[in-house]
């Protein structure tokens, strides 16, 4: 009787182990299908905790989306892009990665849409005393009309169209991703976040300034952001 019971338990465990593995294998296959397809963008991370894996995978997906959007001409004139149907496919225990967790986020490229005619209400924070003094003293250095035009942009998706046009008009000599710049100190830098919002434009040089505030600023103040550099025509 005990032998039969032990055998039953062993068989049950073998089958359930096999079932669990099949589920994990099915999920792995689905992840691989998406990774191989050119229809998707994805972010993937394996970290000691679930939350760390999810946070990093999401960050990587956003970085991928921003890079892809920048390269898409049809997005360049849209004031905004919207990402629909962001999905999450991860398994925790059911998608074993040794003693860690694997997170996988993906989005279909066709779900990234240019959005027209939207209006976003952004509450303007009350100026601090320092900022109020700075504004009233008009100590913000004057910038060229080209730099002012770029600095007025709010969305990353509008950048490529603007920079392309300025280059064709001969107003800027060059623009590129920060990582691709040969001599970054010569370039103005446009700082944007992973939501596609432009956060700052910095002047060239070793000691950069924020174009909007005139105050000293640096790339190091924008951890986790991306940057595009542009060079004014002389």
């Amino acid at each position: 009787m005990i032998r039969k019971l032990l055998l039953t338990v062993f068989l049950a465990l073998s089958v359930s182990g096999l079932s669990a593995q099949q589920t994990a294998e099915e999920q792995k296959k689905e992840i691989n299908r998406i990774k191989k397809s050119s229809l998707y963008l994805y972010g993937e991370a394996t970290m000691p905790t679930e939350q760390e894996a999810k946070d990093l995978a999401e960050e990587l997906l956003y970085a991928d989306i921003n890079e892809w959007v920048a390269g898409q001409k049809k997005m360049s004139n849209a004031p905004k892009v919207v990402v629909n149907n962001t999905k999450q496919l991860w398994g925790g225990v059911s998608l074993p990665r040794g003693n860690m967790f694997r997170a996988f986020f993906y989005v279909k490229k066709s779900d990234i849409l240019p959005v027209e005619n939207t209006q976003e209400i952004v509450p303007v924070p009350a100026a601090s005393d320092d900022e109020a003094e700075l504004l009233s003293s008009s100590s913000v250095p004057a910038v060229s009309p080209v730099v002012a035009e770029v600095a007025a942009l709010k969305e990353f998706s509008a950048l490529q169209g603007c920079l392309n046009r300025l280059k064709q008009e001969g107003k800027i000599k060059d623009y590129n991703k920060y990582a691709a710049l040969q001599d970054a100190d010569r370039y103005y830098l446009i700082i944007y976040n992973r939501e596609g919002r432009i956060e700052a434009v910095l002047t060239p040089g070793a000691g950069r300034r924020n174009v909007a505030t005139g105050r000293p600023d640096a790339i190091a103040n924008y951890a986790g952001r991306g940057a595009i550099g542009f060079l004014l025509a002389e």
Binding site: F10, L18, P96, G98, I219, A220, Y222
Partner: protein, 333 residues
């Protein structure tokens, strides 16, 4: 009789389900807009062969059979050194990974491995990714352990002051540096430290209570030159069966340093500071602390480490303040 056959079938099925994958297929993808070089297909085939051999060797508990494997001598040496220290297998039957294209080589960063220590716990965990490099013909030119996902991402995208190609080079050497401790590669460590290297190590000491001194803990720093450090390291390698060194970021986004785990010297642009958190676990010892490495990269030459500092993470029950962690600015270049 029928019952026995059914039972035997399920027993075998259960046993097979537990075995690591035997054959590994590899698909390497490239980003949209990049021309896919013909060598990638060769790289896929070659990596598949190597991972399949790794899995077979792990299953059969034997040495790797490197004869005929499509690898350079350096890659064979890297892989066999790792294998001599610890066995592992590829966790996926099908590996799909992005292939990064550089001027003279290609790289894949997230080969999923499961470490299978023999008879002992191995360091911080059993999951470990590998980085594999290929030459222009798709032949494997290097096999090394990767840094963790978050640190890799941080160092790769740390666009503050360092150009992309140099960042990738720094990342490559930090990974090799870490792998060298795990594989007890004393030869690599002897080469990578400059002859005039300065090694500073902090130790926590407890001061005695008297009228003048309320007591407590503080960090005392000792200096070693390269010869002293390498001699001590040889002794550590000899007395520990295994060593697992892990690097990670210092704090969330590197605390005040942002993603600037790498900083570049203004006075000497060939010199770079790299700040990391290090976990050291070995058979006989473990600690956690902050590592600072001063690297010099010159075109056409192998990079060297001029300064290595280590500080304990915890002193007197509190984390070492960020302002006290060594950085580039602490050294007169």
């Amino acid at each position: 009789m029928t019952n026995r056959i059914i039972v035997l079938f399920f027993v075998l099925l259960g046993a097979v389900a537990m075995l690591p994958a035997q054959t590994v297929t590899v698909t390497l993808t490239t980003d949209e807009g990049y021309e896919r070089p013909a060598a990638i297909s060769k790289a896929e085939e070659n990596l598949s062969r190597v991972l399949t051999e790794i899995n077979a060797a792990q299953r059969e508990n034997r040495n790797l059979n490197v004869v005929g494997l499509p690898m350079t001598d350096f890659a064979v040496k890297s892989l066999t050194m790792i294998w001599a220290t610890v066995h592992f297998y590829c966790d996926d039957e099908e590996v799909v990974d992005r292939c990064w294209l550089f001027k003279d080589f290609m790289e894949v960063d997230h080969i999923p491995l499961i470490i299978t220590p023999q008879g002992e716990e191995f360091g911080s965990g059993t999951y470990q990714e590998a980085v594999v490099e290929f030459d222009k013909n798709g032949r494997i030119s290097e096999f090394r352990f990767a840094l963790d996902n978050q640190l890799r991402e941080s160092l790769t995208n740390c666009g503050a002051v360092v150009e992309e190609e140099r960042r990738m080079e720094i990342l490559q050497y930090v990974e090799r540096f870490r792998t060298a401790y795990n594989t007890k590669d004393i030869n690599f460590l002897q080469q990578v430290f400059s002859d005039d290297a300065l090694i500073i190590t902090g130790h926590v000491v407890t001061t005695k209570i008297n009228e003048m001194d309320p007591g407590g803990q503080k960090v005392v720093y000792s200096k070693q030159n390269k010869q002293q450090y390498i001699a001590n390291l040889k002794r550590a390698f000899a007395r520990n069966k295994w060593i697992d060194v892990k690097f990670s970021q210092i704090g969330e986004n590197g605390e005040a340093g942002g993603c600037a785990g790498i900083t570049r010297s203004v006075s000497d642009p060939n010199k770079y500071g790299v700040r990391l958190r290090q976990e050291w676990k070995s058979s006989n010892y473990s600690d956690e602390g902050y590592l600072f490495l001063l690297w010099e990269f010159r075109d056409g030459q192998s990079p060297v480490v001029h300064v290595r500092t280590w500080q304990p993470e915890w002193v007197g029950g509190e984390k070492l303040p960020e302002s006290e962690i060594f950085s580039l600015g602490d050294f007169n270049l």
